[in-house]
Amino acid sequence: MDKYILKYFNLIRTIIAILIGVFICILIIFIISKDPQNGLRYFFLGPFSSTGRFGNVIEMASPIILCGLAISIPFQAEQFNVGAEGALFIAAAVTTGFGVSTSFPKIIHIPLMILVAGGVGAIWGFIPGILKAKWKASELVITLMMNYVALYLSLYIINFHFRDKKAGFLVSYQLPKTAWFDQFIKNTRIHYGVILTIIFIILVYILLYKTKLGYEIRMTGMNINFAKYGGINTFKIIVLSQVIGGFIAGIAGISEVMGIHRRFNWQGTPGYGWDGVVVAIIGRNHPILIAFASIFIAYLRVSGQVLNLLTDIPAEIVTILESIIILLITAEAFLTQWKYRITVREAEKKEVKIESPS
């Protein structure tokens, strides 16, 4: 029993963290809601209440997964890049502009849109990458600032160049149908971009764990001196990890636009980039775990929406839940006493085995 606990310790810890967070939320619901039973029902089962809602979980998970993958790559190289939010926003803005001003047959338009978005995101990731590689400028601060630059730059681009004056709000022209990801499941908004996300999960897994580049990224992250001495071009890796991350983040942005909104209608950044940081942490930078974590988060968000709509509980309870879970997960020493006691027991068992006569 002890052996299994040690092996799956991290997983067990994550699950306990989630349970604690959920428990706290249940408490909050009981305190503030006039109808806690209903509140709890919607909190846990909201997303299952209709096909559409369940579809929401999948649709919402898709950009979060992509952003999580995008963040995990620089994270594996120990680069604290939090710029997926900005990258996805500006890639979406520029690519929307491209999409509404060009016309191609669908089979060309879609791949082009994807490439343009990836390209813009890659460029956006290049900047903090090169500044860090060359001059050790803190990528944390720079990407933080660049998120704001991306926000304002994108709003400028859309509002001053691609604004649809006929629409009531500050939004862009609608994308031509040739640039849409079609929704292919009835009663939901699940679109082909979701398939693209699944493909990316596989691609990122292969990249990180099966390729030379992935090995270089991970070794750079584990010990940059070791990597340098060993001959890895860590300069290239630092830049490349952010460029690849930006590329994927850019695709996350345009995928949303092409699949759900069909025009650029964000007034502020949607938050997927930050969600990406969260799921990358929860998923320990591993593509499969990131996918699970993202579905979990999306599930919570949809629950939040249902709560907002049908109860007197604000959706922000979900944000609170997430932050509690992250706090508990990043607490390395959380439950470590328990692990230590088990380790000591195992070690003593081994000693006894050696000492006793055969």
Partner: protein, 509 residues
């Protein structure tokens, strides 16, 4: 004079499962210099960390001056009169000497610091023990010998009666060591008790009254120093004879394969740390570079391995210049490097043994295709090396962090020597590893030499230099000040004056 410190049945298990102390009991008599020796992993540093409160034991008791005491942190230890001088100095670089000395016991005027009184106290304790220090200089501006002195004063200023020194001479020259030993003798005369942890058996026998030998987490024996000699101690430490014999030089006349010409370098503090260093390395030889740490060796090795660019000068490999090549390019020219700090530069401890072994060759044809790694080949290769170099690990997929220090170094050595290098730059290759592993590494270097490699051995361990080198260079203050041919009769006393800058090649006698 009775027993000042008595520990009984100390058991310590680290979180990673390592049992460092297995029921250790020891008595230290007041007013003596008591040495504790043992290989790395023997448990001596752990034991002292427990006495000083840096670590806590699972079982066992500590008695000080006959009374049972509980030590949960350094504060408790200090309160009881126990002080410790650590191997890596515990000083704040940007603070002054007096700020470091009075840290934690700052004299106050109301809620403010009383700087004047702090300086007075510093001067007084300095005079009382005859240890002078420049009180208002920042630590980062002081040489190593003085920094250690500040460390000792730190303990004395807090009324330590038992002083624990952990490998105090590892950064000192023979001359500075003598100064330290005189200090210790004076402190002993003043009634202090000293516990002295060391690898250096010669010094131990010179200064200690009593010697305790630890092995594998247990005490082997405690004896009066005059009843022991080095060979006996070494035997007790590992249970077999250790040779201190010099290895015979290789008879083959090698040719020059590696050359440094006039290497100079200025560091970020604008100090010229290398001033025109030149040397030639031949195949079939081991060229030893000895010197006190901090005289340019670290920067020199970084330049030779492609991690730094020199200000001036060239590095030639068989007459071709390689000065500004990248680390990978230098490796491809068959130059290997065993780094000084294996945890910092030699391995990624969270990565597996496999991943650590292949870092210099993963991109080559046998180990990967155009994009993908060839996992089976990598695994086989790693297992082969694990066997050949006797690395103790359950599997090649274990993280390196689960290995002991000696085995981690074996991983590094396995990687660096298995690429059939022409030139090996070995920087402190046996620092902090057990005697058994040390001998293995020495033999491997000797074998590499006999196969035609040229080895540039940088070491602060004079015994190692004297044992292995064909020729010896002494570096002081960024310059090569003397070259010796290694032979019988050459000792640390010959090298010391050059290492301290008291003598240079131009001097005669």
């Amino acid at each position: 004079m009775g027993v000042i410190l008595s520990v009984k049945n100390i058991v310590k298990v680290y979180p990673n499962g390592v049992v460092a102390n297995k029921g250790v009991s020891l008595d230290v008599e007041e007013g003596t210099i008591h040495a504790i020796v043992g290989e790395n992993g023997a448990g001596k540093t752990t034991l002292m960390k427990i006495v000083f409160g840096i670590e806590e034991s699972q079982e066992g008791q500590i008695f000080f001056k006959g009374k049972r005491i509980k030590i949960k942190n350094p504060y408790d230890a200090i309160k009881n009169g126990i002080g410790m001088v650590h191997q890596h100095f515990m000083l704040a670089q940007d603070l002054t000497v007096y700020e470091n000395l009075l840290l934690g016991i700052e004299p106050k005027r109301g809620i403010f610091l009383n700087t004047k009184e702090a300086i007075e106290i510093t001067k007084k304790v300095s005079n009382d023990y005859g240890l002078s220090v420049p009180f208002d200089k920042k630590i980062k501006d002081l040489p190593i010998g003085l920094r250690q002195r500040v460390e000792i004063l730190k303990a004395l200023i807090r009324n330590a009666e038992l002083l624990i020194l952990d490998e105090p001479t590892s950064v000192l020259t023979p001359q500075e060591t003598e100064v330290l030993f005189n200090t210790l003798k004076a402190l002993k005369k003043a009634g202090k008790t000293i516990i002295f942890i060391s690898h250096k058996l010669k010094e131990v026998l010179e200064i200690a009254d009593k010697v305790t030998i630890m092995r594998d987490g247990k005490i082997v024996v405690t004896k009066d120093a005059k009843e022991l000699n080095e060979h006996e101690i070494a035997y007790l430490m590992v249970g077999r004879e250790i040779s201190f014999e010099r290895i015979p030089p290789n008879d083959k006349q090698g040719e020059v394969i590696f050359e440094a010409q006039d290497i100079s370098f200025i560091n970020e503090d604008n100090v010229k740390v290398l001033k025109g260093v030149s040397f030639k390395l031949k195949s079939y030889e081991i060229l030893g570079l000895c010197g006190i740490e901090g005289n340019g060796q670290t920067e020199l090795v970084e330049i030779l391995t492609g991690l730094r660019r020199p200000l001036t000068g060239k590095i030639l490999l068989k007459d071709k210049e390689i000065t500004n090549l990248l680390p990978r390019e230098i490796r491809e020219k068959r130059v290997s490097h065993i780094p000084e700090d294996r945890m910092k530069d030699g391995v990624a401890d969270r990565a597996t043994v496999e991943e650590n072994i292949i870092v210099d060759r993963y991109y080559k044809k046998g180990f990967s295709g155009r994009l993908l790694l060839k996992e089976k080949e990598i695994e086989n290769h790693s297992n082969e090396l694990i066997r050949k170099f006797n690395i103790l690990t359950f599997s090649s997929k274990n993280p390196v962090s689960s290995l002991s220090g000696g085995n981690i170094q074996k991983v590094v050595v396995a990687r660096e020597l298995s690429s059939n290098p022409l030139i090996i730059i070995a920087d402190q290759p046996t620092r902090g590893i057990d005697v058994g592993s040390e001998e293995l590494v020495h033999n491997l270097l000797k074998d590499a030499r006999d196969n035609g490699a040229g080895i540039f051995l940088v070491s602060a361990d004079l015994d190692e230099i004297l044992k292995l080198s064909t020729r010896i260079l002494v570096i002081y203050n960024g310059e090569i000040v003397k070259e010796f041919i290694n032979q019988e009769g050459l000792t640390g006393r010959d090298l010391g004056p050059y290492m301290l800058g008291l003598k240079k090649e131009k001097d005669n006698g």
